[in-house]
Symmetry: C3
Subunit: 165 residues, 3 copies
Amino acid sequence: MASAEQKAEELGLSIPDYSDPPFGARYGRMKPFHRIGNLVELAGLTPESRAGQRLHPGAIGVDVTIEEGYAAARLTAVHTLGMIRYAVGSLDNVVSLSRALCFVVCPPGFEDLHLVANGATDLFLDVFGEEIGSVGRASIGATSLSRNNCFELWLSLECHPETSL
Amino acid sequence: MASAEQKAEELGLSIPDYSDPPFGARYGRMKPFHRIGNLVELAGLTPESRAGQRLHPGAIGVDVTIEEGYAAARLTAVHTLGMIRYAVGSLDNVVSLSRALCFVVCPPGFEDLHLVANGATDLFLDVFGEEIGSVGRASIGATSLSRNNCFELWLSLECHPETSL
Amino acid sequence: MASAEQKAEELGLSIPDYSDPPFGARYGRMKPFHRIGNLVELAGLTPESRAGQRLHPGAIGVDVTIEEGYAAARLTAVHTLGMIRYAVGSLDNVVSLSRALCFVVCPPGFEDLHLVANGATDLFLDVFGEEIGSVGRASIGATSLSRNNCFELWLSLECHPETSL
């Protein structure tokens, strides 16, 4: 069975490198992740590239379609893969993703937040498979996010004990 | 003193069984919980039954009263008891609830989010007592939640070390 | 190099005492924090004093300026220092802050949530320095918060293993 790193390569994903330049400089001195034992808590990630380019900014159901929101959530998950590599060295050092809060910018009455969040969690399943890549999830409607991004992901995971810091 | 399982029975709570059918099938392949050491992180829960029936959907302060929101939050906590059983086998394997993010669908200017969230946290106190059942809490106003649910709970807890996975 | 307690004194911060009276009485029987191993999860904190006085209530971008929001976020972080002392005895028992969800009450289209959240995270950097005090962060637009507060912080941290409970 293909490892997560092999799957990411097969899928041709363009995974950003958060070590160069180190994450956090643009928004002040933010930390990319923190590890306590085998628990890794990641900073929030968005569909914004390291260069500041945003995919489908705005509110889903207003400026952005569900399909575009799904694509933005999927790109956010690809960014998250880069952050996971930065945190634990390799996607193959993940024992299991734990859970993901998915913030979706949308107006009152919008009901399909889960269809947007699927963009992120489907990508995790594609790369890690079901045992490692499925997450506990909640999808929460936000009024807005920094720089008008339409989606933000807040993920925790478990890494192998022998992963060096 | 009555155990949490005894209290749940005394209160006549109708606690859903998340093992049959296994949680996660309806919204894609979601994970119900993940345990790292003695930390258990649960997926988001709502006042929606396993069959898809929702209690008081809509926005509190608009379509739903505070009293109805309280009832929806209480039902969400009952659902959470089912998820806790699924995660650690029995309510009596909980050392302590840790903290709960309470998402409340409400419009700008609504000030009584805590009165809604009390529905969930009062139920936890009723079942687990104060030492085990009190939680760190925040109540956050959301524009919307999946399938128009009015409340969502995001809980972490500590289980007994000897709890088998 | 000055310790976090020394820095807090140098800065002349007025840090509330959450042990007297014990936290949680006003909003029901809430828990201020929970510790699992070296992970400490804090309850949500706001720019509301122990006596119930709120700094700059309302929505940022509507009733409250970004500068006022920054001040409210900074005050929230000062409150958080009091909660950290309550949880682990001293600011000097913090190995590292882990991550902070920053909820910002703001209307759709507001883009500068990070400028508000900086108020909290800048204070942490001032007190703890970059190695200990930087956090993983996400800034989320809420419709409202309890009692019309404009900001709420949801923080996790790592404490020294020898910290007594």
